[in-house]
Symmetry: none
Amino acid sequence: MTTLSDIIEKYILNTIQESNKGEILLKRTDLSGKFSCVPSQINYVINTRFTIERGYIVESKRGEGGYLKIVRIPVTETKIYLNKIQEETKSTITAEGARGFLNRLEEENIISKREKNMIWQLLKDESLPNDKDNKGYYRLKMLKNLIAYLIKEEEKK
Amino acid sequence: MTTLSDIIEKYILNTIQESNKGEILLKRTDLSGKFSCVPSQINYVINTRFTIERGYIVESKRGEGGYLKIVRIPVTETKIYLNKIQEETKSTITAEGARGFLNRLEEENIISKREKNMIWQLLKDESLPNDKDNKGYYRLKMLKNLIAYLIKEEEKK
DNA sequence: TTAGATATGGTCAAATATAGTCAGAGAAGG
DNA sequence: CCTTCTCTGACTATATTTGACCATATCTAA
């Protein structure tokens, strides 16, 4: 069974393909108009199909001149490695876990010592919400976005 | 996808560039005339784009002979600049404010483009708690810890 | 000297244009 | 059935544009 979400997904994939830049700009309402659905369905497609795990980064802007920007992260060896690390983490990560992870990235020469230190300033307990559970959750979210970026950068080499 | 505000911003940036002094004098009504908009839109552009986080100071004078003066902050002493920013930030900072600030750090060669991008991954809205008020609070906390680190590093030189 | 006229710029809230979230209804597959 | 995925719409968040009203500096005429 092909759902509307599948069709929208294919359309977006196709558009990215044709762009030859691995990146596109869309207007949410244009898309929902084209497929005669509510705008929030576009969010649904993006949230379920164009995730970091699948290799996409999505940015957006609201208001006049608003847009959706979908960027494809290309695949390489490094990406596979980083993905593996990413998979190892569960749904939350402790300060110690994050620190260990950053150390590992440094050991693998994926980031420098200085970069590690800078990132640590943002991930350490003192920087985050004073909320035991959510702390680990957001720390992981931040880390995942960082990894997605690193994957994209590695690909440029 | 480009708004009038973006166009006005580019025009001002360009004018500053051409002046070779990192500083310009404008008449608000001249600008609003040039771009066929209400005068207050110029204030909007200035308030959202030429902020202290992005490295600008704006002065003005009303009445006959009134003007807008936009000054690009020249930074010679990195530490002084960092301290100033740290003092000036209030109790919260928006994603845009943080981005502008990071761009500024990059322009001043305090951090690299890569470092900026990495840090951005942790500070952007998508990485933080979905909580309108606290988002800005924690973003600022993270940034301040980063600045503290950078100041310490600068001192080592 | 000073009050009023004139010339600017500033503030703020409403109107408009987008996009995001979330919970619940509906559909498809086991 | 039961679960999971999809679809929808009401409500929310944010960026831009506009205009009515406010504040201040300078000039001018009494």
